[in-house]
């Protein structure tokens, strides 16, 4: 546990040492604020519904960008070898990396709180729904991060990690969408819908915290963390 936090600390340090971390934050905030303003000024909406509908799509590109370097960079530079020959075991190493990305992601989400705060100053805001959506966002983000991290563990090329992460995430996102499930037989369709990342996000975002959604996200995340652990344990150097 202590060493998991150490790994996370080192990783967070690198997010903030490199200009990449700041560039990411600036771009992420610009894009999200612009999306919100568009709805706010063009359509006169004083809510964040559009914002949260688009967020899962934006994350398809933004989250693999956070996670792509986690392991790929260590493979490329060879530091994986020093990390794993210190008394850090593979679980601590993988969980520490996950934690670091999740915290960095949470920080970027935290900065978007400026949007609901501004709305509530200007008009009425349904805080219950906004908070529900934010919680859903954190779960959704954590699930994306676990996929992106897995993709990064497979390669030493960050671009490959990014693309692979985006593709796998996209796959798990769309399988639950109506466009996909509509053409499937009833039974299969409901399984797909249940497996899809977006379905549970919408459900949490409605403001109801259902244990089924929580269990879904937690097992999804655990599954990809386990896959990453397996790859790091077996695929060396």
């Amino acid at each position: 546990m202590k060493r998991t936090i150490l790994v996370a600390r080192k990783e967070i340090l690198s997010y903030f040492i490199s200009p990449m971390g700041y560039i990411y934050l600036v771009i992420f905030l610009s894009v999200t604020s612009w999306l919100f303003m568009r709805g706010f000024f063009l359509m006169n909406q004083a809510d964040m519904r559009d914002f949260f509908t688009l967020l899962p799509w934006i994350f398809l590109l933004f989250i693999p960008a956070i996670t792509m370097k986690l392991f790929a960079e260590e493979r490329k530079s060879g530091t994986l070898e020093i990390a794993l020959t210190m008394p850090v075991n593979e679980w601590e190493f993988v969980l520490g990396k996950f934690l670091a990305s999740f915290l960095f992601f949470t920080f970027s989400i935290f900065l978007t709180l400026i949007i609901p705060v501004s709305i509530s100053i200007l008009g009425n805001l349904d805080w219950g729904q906004v908070i529900g959506s934010y919680i859903g966002t954190l779960f959704l983000g954590a699930a994306y991060i676990s996929i992106g991290m897995f993709a990064s563990s497979l390669t030493k090329n960050q671009v490959v990690a990014f693309i692979l992460g985006a593709i796998i995430t996209f796959f798990f996102f769309i399988i639950g969408e109506r466009l996909v499930t509509i053409s499937l037989p009833q039974g299969v369709a409901s399984v797909f819908q249940f497996l899809g990342l977006g379905y549970h996000f919408k459900s949490i975002a409605r403001g109801v915290l259902d244990t089924r959604d929580l269990i879904y996200y937690l097992s999804f995340i655990a599954f990809f963390i386990f896959l990453t652990y397996y790859v790091i344990k077996e695929k060396r150097p």
């Binding site: 600390r9 080192k10 690198s14 040492i17 794993l84 210190m86 008394p87």
Partner: protein
């Protein structure tokens, strides 16, 4: 301290290490010498727990690395090939994080930090990003990291590769100094390095150990086809003619002449000392021997012979 028992490792169809066994005892500086692709790095990675052997076992202080990796990793200080380091942080940050990972408290860390910074001479670069450092300093930072937890064993994979001659000497001296209290296993493909630093050599080629001994012992092993440099007093042509009657000589080469002296290099059969026969020859024909010297194979020749290169 280190006991390697019959390890094998394949990467796909490449058999990188084949049945390698050896021991390194306390206080030794053992050199793992071999050409590119011999399996040095793979062997070291298995000892440090980065790779798992397909077969065979490694014991460090009698503890099996695969069974108790956390314990074994604390005993070893490892400098991997090409000295990979986190480029974006500073040596101080690197050492601080490492110290924490090894579970050092603040006092112990300060004490060890001072020691390794002095030993490796990195004080002036402690707060500069590692990515900006010169190769020599990088190497020192890598060593400092490997030394921080005060391991009893050092495993150094080509510790001087890529350094300039001056830096090479400095790093070698540092290793020798460290070896006074630590057991060292280092790899290299430079013969002089082994002669300069190591108390014992293991020669490895194509994944197999081909020889083990002290640098001196090994040069005897490879003596085969022994050469004798002899300077006779007398005329070159006459001596050569007479030498040709010695049927056991495999090769006669005239090297040079100085006043009345002619120098030849004679090749005798392997594993036969021809010095006495040459002495009797000189006596019989009355060519006084002014100088006679048996050529000892250098470690370089041993290495090339054992690994199938040209001497």
């Amino acid at each position: 301290m280190i006991r390697v028992e019959g390890i094998w490792k394949a990467f796909g169809s490449i058999q990188a290490v084949k049945d390698v066994s050896f021991e390194v005892s306390k206080g030794e500086i053992v050199g793992l010498l071999g050409p590119n692709g011999a399996g040095k790095t793979t062997t070291m990675r298995i000892i440090t727990g980065f790779l798992y052997a397909d077969r065979g076992q490694v014991f460090v202080k009698d503890i099996n690395i695969e069974e108790r990796p956390e314990i074994v990793k604390r005993e070893i200080g490892y400098l991997p090939e090409d000295n990979p380091l986190y480029e974006d942080i500073t040596p101080y940050e690197l050492l601080l994080i490492s110290g924490k990972i090894y579970g050092m408290d603040g006092r112990r860390f300060k004490e060890r930090l001072k020691t390794v910074v002095d030993q490796t001479g990195i004080k002036e670069v402690l707060t500069r990003p590692i990515g900006d450092l010169s190769k020599g300093f990088r190497q020192r930072v890598g060593l400092a990291r490997a030394l921080l937890h005060d391991p009893s064993i050092l495993i150094l994979d080509e510790p001087t590769s890529g350094l300039d001659p001056h830096q090479i000497l400095e790093i070698r001296n540092l290793i020798k100094e460290l070896a006074r209290e630590k057991t060292v296993l280092l790899s290299t493909h430079i013969m002089q390095e082994v002669q300069a630093v190591c108390s014992s050599v293991i020669i490895i080629n194509k994944g197999e150990i081909v020889a083990r001994g002290t640098p001196d012992e090994l040069s005897i092993i490879a003596k085969g086809g022994n050469l004798l440099h002899v300077t006779f007093k007398g005329d070159e042509k006459e001596i050569r003619q007479k030498l040709q009657s010695l049927t056991f000589l495999e090769d006669i080469k005239f090297v040079g002449k100085e006043d009345e002296a002619s120098t030849f290099v004679l090749r005798g059969p392997e594993n036969r000392d021809i010095r006495e026969e040459i002495f009797n020859f000189a006596k019989d024909y009355n060519f006084p021997i002014l100088e006679m010297r048996r050529e000892k194979a250098t470690l370089e020749e041993v290495f090339l012979r054992l690994t199938g290169g040209e001497a």
